[in-house]
Every structure is written in structure tokens, then in C-alpha cells.
């Protein structure tokens, strides 16, 4: 792309894609912004009109809001912690030459292929159910009282379910990063007198830093929007113990039919996501530079 003509030709040819992407993004955003300033409740279609920041103030002032923000951040942080640490350990494990390595790798990746509602329901009914679940059976076999996971520790239970789903993704990315580490580098460290744990800390972990950053950034985007797992397990409860911002928006729009307030919630969620994004890029973004 060196000549003036080829540069402008490139711009012309790129424009349909850029414009359609822009429309794709701008239209829903503008609609959401528009609705967020309207009184727009499907149950009272006659009471419509501009209400200024009323939707925002009531959404933010509602007692569920702070709880939802905290739950959202806890969910994201909890899942990231489990998947990154677990992913590193699993990647190290399945990078070892073991018998049936290929099958082990496929099995490790399997949870990623299961649809979120199915996974959540399996966990809810087959593992965490306090009367029929496998965990309950295990507790009983040990002579303990079964623990009602989703009733007594709803957020932690959801974190476990979501982490189970995302662990394969983290493992896969970290495994490929691990495989790109030259064996000579490890051997050099071995010759230099670094025992296994120091080789991990000084050589392997720095090598993985970029992959870990990618895992954290991509997962954060998706984890901020987790809804289905909550919907089919706890429905945000008990009370608001497992209500996240996304679930709060869902509740406003579908259960309360309040499109205006849900739109305001959506805008707040977008702002929160951007705050998280800025924070993350500040903290770990430098790892992406070559």
C-alpha cells in the first residue's frame, strides 16, 4: 500500500465493513440510551414520555444495586482466580508426556462444548442438589449433613459452575503458550542451578504472562455478562445473594417489563465494564506489548 491510489482504493474497499460494523454498534447503543431516558413500561404503555434521569436514579438507588455490583465483581474475580490458577496447573500437568495424552486433552476441553444452561442444570440437579446430588451422597457417606450449596452459598456455587465452564479455555490458551517455551531455555535454567519451583517462577510464569493477560481480558468480557447460569440455578436468590448487574437488568426488563429502567441499567453496566476494562489495561495491558 504505497501509492496514493492504492491507499484510497483500500479505504473505499474497507468502508462497507467499517460502516456496517459501526451501524451494528451505534444503533443498539443509541436505542438503549434513548429508552433509558423514557418512561417505557410494557405493563403501562399509555404512560410514556421523557423522564430525564429518573430511570438512572431509581436503578442506582434501589437496594439491590450495590449488592449486584459487588456480586458481579466477586463473580468475575472468583472465576478468574480459579481459572487462571487452575488453568496453569492443568496446563503444566497435561504438558507432561503421559500415556493417552491426546484423550486427556480432549477430556479437559470437553466442558467448553457443553451449553451453559445444560451445564448449570447438571451441576444444580446432579451435583449440588442437597437431597439427590452426588455431593450430598458423598457428604452422607462421610457421615456429614449434606450442604445446600445453592441455598447456603449461592454465589460461590455459581462461581464454581462458571469456573468449571471456563477452565478449559484458560487451560487451552495456557497450554499452547507453555508449548511455545523452548526446551533449551528450561534446560539452561536447569544448568544454571534453578530447581523446579524457581524454574516455574522465573522462567515459565514470565513466559506465560502474555497468555494469562489474554485469558483475563477475554474472560472478563464474557464473565461480566453471565446470566444463564444464575437464571437456571438460583434465579438471583436467595434474596439478592446471587444477583449480578446483568441479572438485575434482566429482572427489570423481563420480570418487571420496565424497558426504560432496564435500558438505564444496561448503560450503567456498559460504564462498569469500561471502568473494569481501563483498570485491567492499566494493570496488565503492558504484557501485551512485544
Amino acid at each position: 500500500m504505497s501509492t496514493q491510489a492504492s491507499r484510497s482504493a483500500a479505504r473505499v474497499m474497507l468502508s462497507p465493513a467499517v460502516i456496517s460494523l459501526l451501524i451494528w454498534m451505534i444503533v443498539p447503543l443509541v436505542l438503549t440510551l434513548w429508552f433509558s431516558f423514557q418512561r417505557y413500561n410494557l405493563l403501562y404503555p399509555d404512560r410514556a414520555g421523557f423522564v430525564g434521569f429518573y430511570n438512572y436514579t431509581t436503578f442506582v438507588a434501589s437496594p439491590d444495586f450495590i449488592q449486584a455490583i459487588i456480586n458481579t465483581l466477586l463473580l468475575v474475580a472468583g472465576v478468574l482466580l480459579i481459572t487462571v490458577i487452575g488453568g496453569i496447573l492443568l496446563a503444566l500437568l497435561i504438558d507432561q508426556p503421559i500415556w493417552g495424552q491426546g484423550y486427556v486433552r480432549i477430556l479437559v476441553i470437553a466442558p467448553f462444548f457443553i451449553m451453559p444452561p445444560v451445564a448449570a442444570l447438571v451441576w444444580k440437579n446432579m451435583f449440588m442438589n442437597p437431597t439427590n446430588g452426588l455431593f450430598a451422597e458423598a457428604f452422607k457417606a462421610l457421615g456429614l449433613t449434606p450442604f445446600d450449596f445453592l441455598g447456603d452459598a449461592p454465589l460461590i456455587s455459581i462461581i464454581i459452575i462458571v469456573a468449571w465452564q471456563w477452565l478449559p479455555f484458560a487451560t487451552l490458551i495456557l497450554l499452547t503458550a507453555l508449548q511455545s517455551l523452548s526446551s533449551e531455555e528450561i534446560e539452561a535454567a536447569e544448568m544454571d542451578g534453578a530447581p523446579a519451583h524457581k524454574r516455574f517462577w522465573f522462567i515459565i510464569l514470565p513466559h506465560l504472562s502474555r497468555a494469562i493477560t489474554v485469558v483475563i481480558l477475554i474472560q472478563t468480557i464474557f464473565l461480566l455478562g453471565v446470566l444463564v447460569e444464575i437464571l437456571v440455578t438460583t434465579n438471583g436468590g436467595p434474596g439478592t445473594a446471587s444477583t449480578t448487574l446483568t441479572f438485575l437488568v434482566y429482572k427489570q426488563s423481563i420480570l418487571n417489563s420496565d424497558v426504560g429502567k432496564a435500558a438505564a441499567g444496561g448503560v450503567v453496566a456498559v460504564i462498569l465494564a469500561n471502568i473494569v476494562a481501563v483498570f485491567l489495561m492499566r494493570a496488565i495491558g503492558k504484557n501485551l506489548d512485544a
Binding site: 531455555e185 534446560e187 535454567a189 536447569e190 542451578g193 530447581p195 514470565p206 512485544a290
Partner: protein
Amino acid sequence: MGQITLSKVTKRFGDVEVIPPLDLRIEDGEFVVFVGPSGCGKSTLLRLIAGLEDVSDGQISIDGKDATSVPPAKRGLAMVFQSYALYPHMTVRKNIAFPLRMAGLSAAEQEKKVMAAAEVLNLTSFLDRRPGQLSGGQRQRVAIGRAIVREPEAFLFDEPLSNLDAALRVNMRLEISELHASLKTTMIYVTHDQVEAMTMADKIVVLNAGRVEQVGSPLHLYQNPQNTFVAGFIGSPKMNLLTGPEATKHSATTIGVRPEHIATSTTEGLWKGTVGVSEHLGSDTFFRVNNTGLGETIMVRAGGEVAIRHGETIYLTPDPTKIHRFDDKGQRL
């Protein structure tokens, strides 16, 4: 001290024996080069000495102490890898200091030794750069620096120059030789390049399919090759190896004549042939002589200014005192 003895060292990968039982003694302060074609097991042998591979059988002792099952870090050897194996996320300073840091030296001592090594290797102005910002030769020097700060009993080099361009290779060859002269530490150097072997070694170990074909000083190997493999491998261009009636005349199965031991003439000589492709290097001229009736193309070295053209008839006479004779097993007679 850095005296290394291998006795009956064997390496098997599954059922494949890459190194049949092998004995070798490396004296303190020697510059030993393992040379051989690719896949001959020379790198494996080096890795066995380093401890990066387990010995299947036999014993390795360093300074008279059995080191067969000693972990690599405790053998007191430092290795320079083909890919340099620098730590990309650390600066040059931290790369060189890494073995010292692992040994638990204080920051001041680390700094002192790193500076001393950087001084020797002309790296002082690059200490705060990362390996990615260095050229190939500089990376090579950092890798050597990381090895010398450990003050090892012996250095192990695994084809360290094969990633460098030709001019740089000649330079680094000199630098490594100078380093050996000043440190007087044992060095074991693996290469497939016989020029490197000839120019650097005190002692060359020629390997073929895991076996030691011959051990000796470069000139000894050049003048007295023990068998046809060594005869053909050492020396560039290769020695002319002839079989058939010409060899029978000397009551041998194979005879070998080096290109420089053949006299040329346009009028008379023992062998007659036509000149093929010739390479004019200025100081020397190498030309191939075809249709000699000897079954092989003969490589001849002549002076820099010979007026011999492609397609001309030429007469060749080998120096009868410089003919190497080999028996039917390829062994020297």
C-alpha cells in the same frame, strides 16, 4: 580442575542404541571438539555429559568423582546452547546474573561478577537491553557470559555458531579460542563444521553413528586418518578416495589422496582427465577433473594463478609419499 572421563557410556532411546559403549578421556584445560555429520550422536553425548539426558549404562566422572547421577546444576559445568536459550523477559544484566542469583550470591557480588564478565565480552553498553534487542553475535556473547560467571569446571558448547552468518562465525571462533587461552578451562565444543573443529581444537573427537572413529590433534587426524570415514570427513575439500585397480596397485582396497598432494601438468602425468568446474578463490584454485578412468571425479588444489580452463585435458600425478591406504574394512594400513 575439569577432567572428564567417560567409561562405557551408553545411551539408548527405547530400543535404539544411539551411543554404543564409549570411552573417552578429556584432560583438564583441553579444548575438545566433537565433530561428525548430523545425527551422529555428538549433541546427545554432550547432553549426557551435561546431565540433561540420563546415561543408560556406564559411568561419567568429573575430576575423578562419579557424576553419573549428579543433577546438571551440581556438576559444575556450564553450557552454551545452539539457540542461546537466553531468558527473553530479563535484561542482559539479569540473564548473566541468573546463575549467581540461583546460587544465592549477594547483589553486590552479582554485580561485580556480571561487570567483570561484561568487560571480557564487550557487553558493558548492552547490560540494560533485552535479548530481543541484540544481534546474533551479541546474544551469543551474553550466553557465553552467563556461562563464565559460574566459573565452571568445564564449558559445553552445543553448535554455538551455527546461527551466525559466515563473517561473524569467523570472529566468534577467534573470540572463543581467545577465551579458552585466557581462562584455561576445559571446553567441549560440538559442531558439524570440520573447519571449526580444525581451527579451534586441541583434540578432535570424530564421531560417526555414536562411535568414536578417531581421537587426536587436528593435524594428526589430517595426516593420519585412521579410516576412510575420518579421511573423508576431515579436510576441505574432501580427500579423493579411490577404489578399484588404482588401489590394488598399492595393495589396498581404498586409497586416499588429498587435493593438494596432486601435481598438475598439461603434458604428462600418471592420470589423464578433462577439467570440469573450477573454483577460483584467489589464493587457491580447486578444480574437478572428470573422465580420468578412475571411476571418481578427482578434486585437485592448485595455486591461485593457474591458467586451466573448463574442458581442457590435464595430467595428474599424486605424490606417492602422501597416499593413504585403507583395507577392505576401511581401516588404515
